[in-house]
């Protein structure tokens, strides 16, 4: 929480510096909108921003769920045999460095223009870091804990859910963190590059529209919301989960 307050304080200080520079430099509103005009844009556009934010969160949520399921399947397959492990690690090595946005053209060819293409980009961006972390997590489970599970008669899916999942939770959590961040970036980037289809769009589309309407304060307002959501998810969700799990269990070095 203290960290959270610190971040807020940092933003306030940054806003003051911003305003000072703007006033000192005499920059036009077009390039360097004042904090006040950004605040006004935030307020007058609040309904639009809220609906765009909800849309972004919805589509990222959907994408993340699909990516998590795929990553789990991929991980289970890869730990079930050396042959699959090699395929998955090779695929990961090839796909992981590829930015999700780079496959947008392919996504449009396959899924057309619309939500499906953006979803595909989100899933693609999130799934590789997820598999990477899940796989590392599963590989680093202490042998003794696995064998206790097997000794109790657990096998297959049950062993995975009851023992492997919690035992690799520190890695899973950092995977989810990376996955979330990449999904969030991908959704904004995809919409910024290619816009939105049929009136539906998230914050990326909001930025795109504001940019084309040359409403610079609106662009900054959208960016501010993107940053704030990033901070909120980190501090209100991930830090909370971490405190209740891996920090409580001391399975990570804090």
């Amino acid at each position: 929480m203290r960290d959270f307050l610190w971040k807020i304080a940092f933003i306030l200080v940054a806003a003051i510096i911003w305003e000072l520079i703007r006033l000192a430099g005499g920059y036009p509103k077009l390039l360097f909108p004042g904090v006040g005009s950004i605040a006004i844009a935030l307020w007058t556009e609040r309904l639009d921003i809220i609906s765009k934010t909800l849309f972004s969160l919805k589509i990222i949520g959907m994408g993340l769920i699909v990516a998590i399921v795929l990553a789990m399947l991929g991980t289970f397959i890869s730990i079930s045999g050396k042959f699959f492990a090699e395929i998955v690690t090779d695929l990961m090595a090839i796909m992981h460095p590829l930015p999700g946005i780079a496959i947008l053209p392919v996504a449009i060819l396959w899924f057309g223009i619309g939500i499906k293409a953006i979803l595909f980009v989100i899933v693609f961006s999130a799934v590789w870091p997820l598999i990477n972390h899940f796989y590392t997590g599963f590989r680093s489970i202490p042998v003794n804990q696995l064998e206790v599970g097997r000794n109790l008669g657990l096998a297959g899916w049950e062993l995975a859910m009851k023992v492997m999942l919690p035992a690799s939770f520190p890695h899973i959590l950092s995977g989810l963190r990376t996955g979330w961040a990449r999904a969030w970036q991908a959704s904004v980037a995809a919409e910024l590059v290619f816009g939105a289809a049929g009136g539906q769009g998230g914050l990326g589309w909001y930025l795109y529209k504001k940019r084309f309407m040359m409403e610079t304060p609106g662009v900054f307002a959208g960016m501010l919301i993107i940053v704030l959501i990033g901070i909120a998810v980190e501090y209100l969700i991930f830090a909370g989960v971490e405190k209740r799990t891996v920090r409580k269990w001391k399975t990570i070095i804090s």
Partner: protein, 267 residues
């Protein structure tokens, strides 16, 4: 006296690439119900391998293992293993939850898990520690909790792979006394692997001596319980076992079996 565990003609060979390493070869022995058997021998003599075969973690290449007349094919809660490593408790659960978890998995219909878990914790001298997470405990306490968890699923056979090997001398002495009491109280059959001759003498009814993957001999323990260390009978038995070991295992140092390296890492 009834025969609980029968091991006949067990052979286990590890293959790593083209190299073949003999784990154990043509092992035969029986364990009576309620008995406490120790297996001793130098590192890499195959004693852990044998234990893992009995537990069902390893497939044997030849021979038969049966418990109460039924062949062993896969791991199961009727033969519960306790490892040397201090990481065998699930870190995301408290001690009580660890035990309840085990009971729930094995015996779905049973109730009063919480109460029973507390009773098992009391049995190993951990009353009041049920709400602690593993990281909050000393090594000795962790091993006690592991024993409590193992007993909670009411196994017929406890397989112990140097369970006290990572503990300091003081914790070891205390845990020995506790464990003997628990053994007598529960009547569980124990197969105990160690490379510490004194530990084997202190605890067990019979000592099996292993070397180079082979069973070299079986020595009945003549000492009565509770065992006193400062009597001549103890010292002469200790001498007898040591001599036997020296004779059988002269210069027989080998590499560790590959499969147990991970499990033996001390934390």
């Amino acid at each position: 006296m009834s025969n609980l565990l029968t091991v006949s003609e067990i052979t286990k060979i590890y293959e790593s690439g083209k190299r073949k390493v003999v784990g154990v070869k043509n092992i035969n022995f029986c364990v009576n119900k309620g008995h406490f058997i120790s297996i001793i021998g130098p590192s890499g003599c195959g004693k852990s391998t044998l234990l893992r075969c009995i537990a069902g973690f390893e497939k044997t290449n030849n021979g038969k293992i049966s418990l109460n007349g039924r062949p062993v094919t896969k791991p199961g809660p009727d033969r519960f293993m306790i490892f040397q490593g201090l990481d065998q408790l699930f870190p995301w659960l408290t001690l009580k939850e660890n035990i309840v978890f085990a009971m729930r998995v094995v015996d779905k219909g049973r109730e009063n898990f919480n109460k029973k878990a507390e009773a098992y914790l009391e049995l190993v001298g951990l009353e009041g520690f049920g709400g602690f997470h593993p990281y909050q405990l000393s090594g000795g306490m962790k091993q006690r909790a592991s024993i409590a968890r193992a007993l909670s699923v009411r196994p017929k056979l406890l397989l112990m792979d140097e369970p006290f090997g990572s503990l300091d001398a003081f914790s070891r002495r205390a845990i020995h006394q506790m464990f003997l009491k628990v053994w007598q109280k529960t009547g569980v059959t124990v197969v105990f692997v160690t490379h510490d001759i004194e530990e084997a003498i202190d605890l067990s009814d019979k000592i099996l001596v292993f070397s180079q993957g082979k069973l070299k001999g079986s020595i009945e323990n003549p000492l009565s319980r509770p065992r006193e260390k400062d009597i001549p009978a103890y010292r002469s038995f200790l001498l007898k076992v040591s001599d036997f070991l020296d004779e059988e295992c002269d210069g027989c140092l080998r590499l560790e079996e590959p499969s147990t390296v991970g499990a033996k890492l001390a934390f």
